[in-house]
Amino acid sequence: MPAVSKGDGMRGLAVFISDIRNCKSKEAEIKRINKELANIRSKFKGDKALDGYSKKKYVCKLLFIFLLGHDIDFGHMEAVNLLSSNKYTEKQIGYLFISVLVNSNSELIRLINNAIKNDLASRNPTFMCLALHCIANVGSREMGEAFAADIPRILVAGDSMDSVKQSAALCLLRLYKASPDLVPMGEWTARVVHLLNDQHMGVVTAAVSLITCLCKKNPDDFKTCVSLAVSRLSRIVSSASTDLQDYTYYFVPAPWLSVKLLRLLQCYPPPEDAAVKGRLVECLETVLNKAQEPPKSKKVQHSNAKNAILFETISLIIHYDSEPNLLVRACNQLGQFLQHRETNLRYLALESMCTLASSEFSHEAVKTHIDTVINALKTERDVSVRQRAADLLYAMCDRSNAKQIVSEMLRYLETADYAIREEIVLKVAILAEKYAVDYSWYVDTILNLIRIAGDYVSEEVWYRVLQIVTNRDDVQGYAAKTVFEALQAPACHENMVKVGGYILGEFGNLIAGDPRSSPPVQFSLLHSKFHLCSVATRALLLSTYIKFINLFPETKATIQGVLRAGSQLRNADVELQQRAVEYLTLSSVASTDVLATVLEEMPPFPERESSILAKLKRKKGPGAGSALDDGRRDPSSNDINGGMEPTPSTVSTPSPSADLLGLRAAPPPAAPPASAGAGNLLVDVFDGPAAQPSLGPTPEEAFLSELEPPAPESPMALLADPAPAAEHPRHLAPPAPSGLSESSQSSDRTWVGQRDSDGALPPPPTAGRMYLFYGNKTSVQFQNFSPTVVHPGDLQTHILSGPLAVQTKRVAAQVDGGAQVQQVLNIECLRDFLTPPLLSVRFRYGGAPQALTLKLPVTINKFFQPTEMAAQDFFQRWKQLSLPQQEAQKIFKANHPMDAEVTKAKLLGFGSALLDNVDPNPENFVGAGIIQTKALQVGCLLRLEPNAQAQMYRLTLRTSKEPVSRHLCELLAQQF
C-alpha cells in the first residue's frame, strides 16, 4: 500500500484502530471507545497547549469514533484550530472533520467561514482547493450566502490555477443546485463560456457541467457556448486516439467530456450559423462512421466508451429532428445493435429507437425492424428488455401494422410479467381503438384482452368499449353476438360479465331472432354468472334485467320472479336491495310506454379525449406517452379515434335510478307554442344570427324555407328553444325576439325544436352538438319516422369525406300523437364549407308519405373562435392578407335600425372577437377570429364601417382562403 506507507503515520491512531478491530464484543468496543474519549477530553482540557500533530491525531480519532456510529459532542474547536495551520495534513484533517460533522453552532460557523475566507484569499492553490471542496461538501445555504459571490470571481480570474478553476466551477455548480437564487448572474457568465476553450481538459469538463446546469434557466446568457462546444467537440472527435494522453480512455479520446458536450448541445436548437452547423453535422457523421470501423481494442471498455458517445450523438440527432439523413443512419446503427450479443446494447438500442419512432423522418426506417423487435419480445430473457421491445412496438404502430402488432402484444400478454400487464393492456386497448379499421376487430381485440388478462383490464378499458359500441350502430349487433358467445365459456372473467351484461341489456334485441340466443337463453346465461359476481357487477346485471323487461316482454315474469326473490329484496347490500325494489315496482306499475321511455337505449356518449390515454400518461409520467398521441403521423384518424367521455357506466353512478334511465340531464322539452296559428306551419328559425337570414329576402339562403311547399296540412313545425341557447352564447347570438313571435304561430301538428349547445364540448372548437326535438302536434301516430342529415352533394349520413362529420343516432320509427322525440347531432367540422347541411325528415302521416328538407343552421361561422389582438398585430395581419382574392367587400343598405349596441351584439354572436381601439374611427367595428376546422385553421379579420347618414354599411373581410372571405361576407351582410 504505497499511499499508506508514504503517510506520516500517526501511531497512536493505528494502535487505537487495531484495538477496536480486536474487540471481541460490542461491550468491549464501547468500553475501549469510552476510555479513548475520556483520554482525548482530558488532553483537550489540559493546561498544556497541544501541538498541531497531537491535535490532528486526536481529531482523527474522534472522526473515526463518529464514523463507527457514536455521537461526538466536543472537539469542534480543535478541528477549527487545525484550519489555520500551515501544514497541509493538519489543515486537511480539519476540513475533513468539519465537512463530516458540520454543526449549526453559530459561533463556530463564523470561525469556519473566517478560515475559509483566508484560504480562498491565500493564493496557495492547494489551500484554495481545500476551502472550495469544503464549501461544496457542506453545500448549505449558509455557506452559499457567505461565498456565492466570491466563487465566480475566482473561477474567471486570469491568474487562477487550473485545479482551482476546476474546483471553483464544481463548487459553484453545487451551490447553484442547492440554492439557485444565491448565485448572482453577471458579466462573469460570458467569461465562463470561454472556459470551454481552456487548455486544461479538467477545467473544460467542469465548465461544461456548470454551463449545462446554468443555461437551463438563462439560455440566452449562454447561447454563445454552442459554437464553442461544437469546435471543442470537433477537436476531440477528430483527434487521434492518443492525442489527449491522460484523457484517453482505452483508445477513446475524452469519452465523458464528449458526452457532456453533446448533452450541452441538446439544451439548444440546431445552430443557425451555417458554418457551425456544418461542422457539427460533420462531427455527428464522424461518430456514426467510427461506429462502423473495426475497434481499436478488443477490450469491452473501449467499445463501451465508444458506444456511450454514439448513444449521446443519436440523442442529439433526435433532439434536432431535422436531418433526415442522420436520423435514418442513426436508425440503421441502432438496428445493428438490436441483434448484438450484449444485452445492455440491445436494451439501449430499443430505448433510443422508441424516440426515433416518433420522428416523421425516421418512422418508416424504424418500422423495417418490426420483425426483430417482435422476436425480441418473444425471446429476450430479460424482462426489462422485453418491456422496451413492447414500448417500441407501441411507438412504431400505425394503421399499416396495427393488426400484427396488436396480435403480438396480446400473445405477449399471456406470459408477460405481472408488474407490466396493466400497462400492456392499456396499450393494446389504445392501439386497437386508434387504428381500428373495422369495429368488429376492435370488439374482438378488447374481448380477447379481457379473456387473457381480465384482472388487469381497468375500468377505463371496458367503459371505453361500451362507449364505442353505444356510439357506433354498425357494430352493435356484432358486439352482442360476440359477447354472447364469450359468456358461454364455463369460466369467464367478471369484466366480461360486466361488458356482456351492459351490451346485451342495450342491444340484446339485435340477436334475439336467433333461437340459440333467444331472450330466455340470454337471460339465463347472464343469470348463471350472477351469484359469482361482486356487488358492483350484480348491480349492473340488475339494470340489465330491467332493460330486458323492456326489450323482451316475454321475460318479464321470470325477471320479476328473480327480483322478488328474498335474496334480492332483502339483500344485505343497500344498493342491490334498492335496485331490486325499485325495478320490481317499476316493472309492475309502469305502462309499456313509460317503460320504453325510461329504459330507452343509452344516447351516444360525448366525444372527449380517451380516458385510457390519460391513464397511460398518468402511469408513465409526462413525456412517456408522447409517441402515442401525436396525430401528425396519422392524419386520417378521425371520429372513432377521437375519444369519448369515459364515465357512462351504469355502475359508476351511485343512484340506481339515474343510470337506469340513461337520460343525462335532458333539456326540458320546449313548451308547445301557445296560440295555434291558422293551420300554418311554424317556420321558426332557430335563434342565431346565422339563422336569421332565413327571414331575410334572399331565398337561397333561407333556412328551412323549403318547408313551405308541403301545404298547410303538413304536420311538421319547428320550434326554437331559446332558453338553452342563452346558456351557450358563444356561437349563438342573443335570442332573437322575432324568432319567438314566429313560434307563436305554430301549428297544432308538429314541431321541431332545436338547440345548439357546443358549449357542452369544451376542448375541440371544431366540434359542436345540436339537439333536435321533433314533436308530433297531431293526435295521430307518425310512422316510419326517419330524420337524416345530409350534406348537399353527399347523401351518406356519416360524411367522413365531406366537410362535416355528423354523428347521429337513429330515433324511434314511431312518434305517437303529442309525443316528442329528441335527437342529438354531434357535428365536427373537418374543413371549411359553404352550404349548410340539410335535415331530411320522412314519415308517414295518416298513410301518406311526407318529406321535409330543412337547412340546418350550421354555417361556417359556428366554428369561429374569437381572437383578441393588439392594434399593431391586427394591422400587420391585415397587410399580410392583401391579395385581391383574400378580400371580400360588400356595400349595402341597412335593413335594420343602425344601433351600435345591436351591431356589437351581432358581431359577437357571429363569433368573432371585437377589437377596441384598433380602427382610428370609433364608429367603425373591427373583429378577428379563427375558423377552426380539423384540417386547417382559417384566420379571419373583419371591418364594418357604418354610414349613418346614408344608412349604408361597408363590410370588408379578409381571410387566408378566398371562398371563406366571400361566404362570410355574404352571411354577415344579411344581418344588418
Partner: protein
C-alpha cells in the same frame, strides 16, 4: 444527473454511500436494501440497467461487491456504466489491488478524498487515473496506517 452512488456487498452491507440529493437517513437504509435486492435478483444475461421508481439504477458487480449508481432518466446509461469501471480502476491503482476490505476501510477516509470528486460525474472525465495519481501524491492525506489490514 447522478442521484446517489452506492457500494454494497452481497450480504447487503453498505460499504460506501454518497447522496447528491437529500434523502432522509431512515429512508436511505430502506432504499439501499431495496436496491441491493433488485441487483442480486438479476442474472448475468440481464442488462445492467434497472428502472426503479422514477429513476434508473446502473450497476456493475466486482466479485462480491456491487457498485450501484442511481441516475435520473436523462443520463447516458453507457457513460455511467463505464464511469463505474473507471472509478474502480482508480481505486485499484490507489490501493494497488483493491479489495472489499480496502473499500470498507476507505470509507473512513473517503469523505476526505471524495472532495476531489465533489460529485463524481462532474469531474469524472478529468482522467480519473490522473486524479488517482494525484491522490497518491498526497499520500499524507491518508490517516490510516498499515496496521489496519
Amino acid at each position: 444527473m447522478i442521484k446517489f452512488f452506492l457500494m454494497v456487498n452481497k450480504q447487503g452491507q453498505t460499504r460506501l454511500s454518497k447522496y447528491y440529493e437529500h434523502v432522509d437517513i431512515n429512508k436511505r437504509t430502506l432504499l439501499e436494501t431495496e436496491v441491493i435486492k433488485s441487483c442480486l435478483s438479476r442474472s448475468n444475461e440481464q442488462c445492467s440497467f434497472i428502472e426503479y421508481k422514477d429513476f434508473k439504477l446502473i450497476y456493475r458487480q466486482y466479485a462480491a461487491l456491487f457498485i450501484v449508481v442511481g441516475v435520473n432518466d436523462t443520463e447516458n446509461e453507457m457513460a455511467i456504466y463505464e464511469f463505474i469501471h473507471n472509478f474502480v480502476e482508480v481505486l485499484d491503482e490507489y490501493f494497488s489491488r483493491v479489495s472489499e476490505l480496502d473499500v470498507s476501510f476507505f470509507n473512513t477516509v473517503f469523505h476526505g478524498t471524495w472532495q476531489m470528486h465533489s460529485g463524481p460525474y462532474q469531474t469524472r472525465s478529468c482522467s480519473v487515473t490522473q486524479a488517482g495519481v494525484q491522490r497518491c501524491d498526497h499520500g499524507s492525506l491518508h490517516p490510516g496506517s498499515p496496521g489496519l489490514k
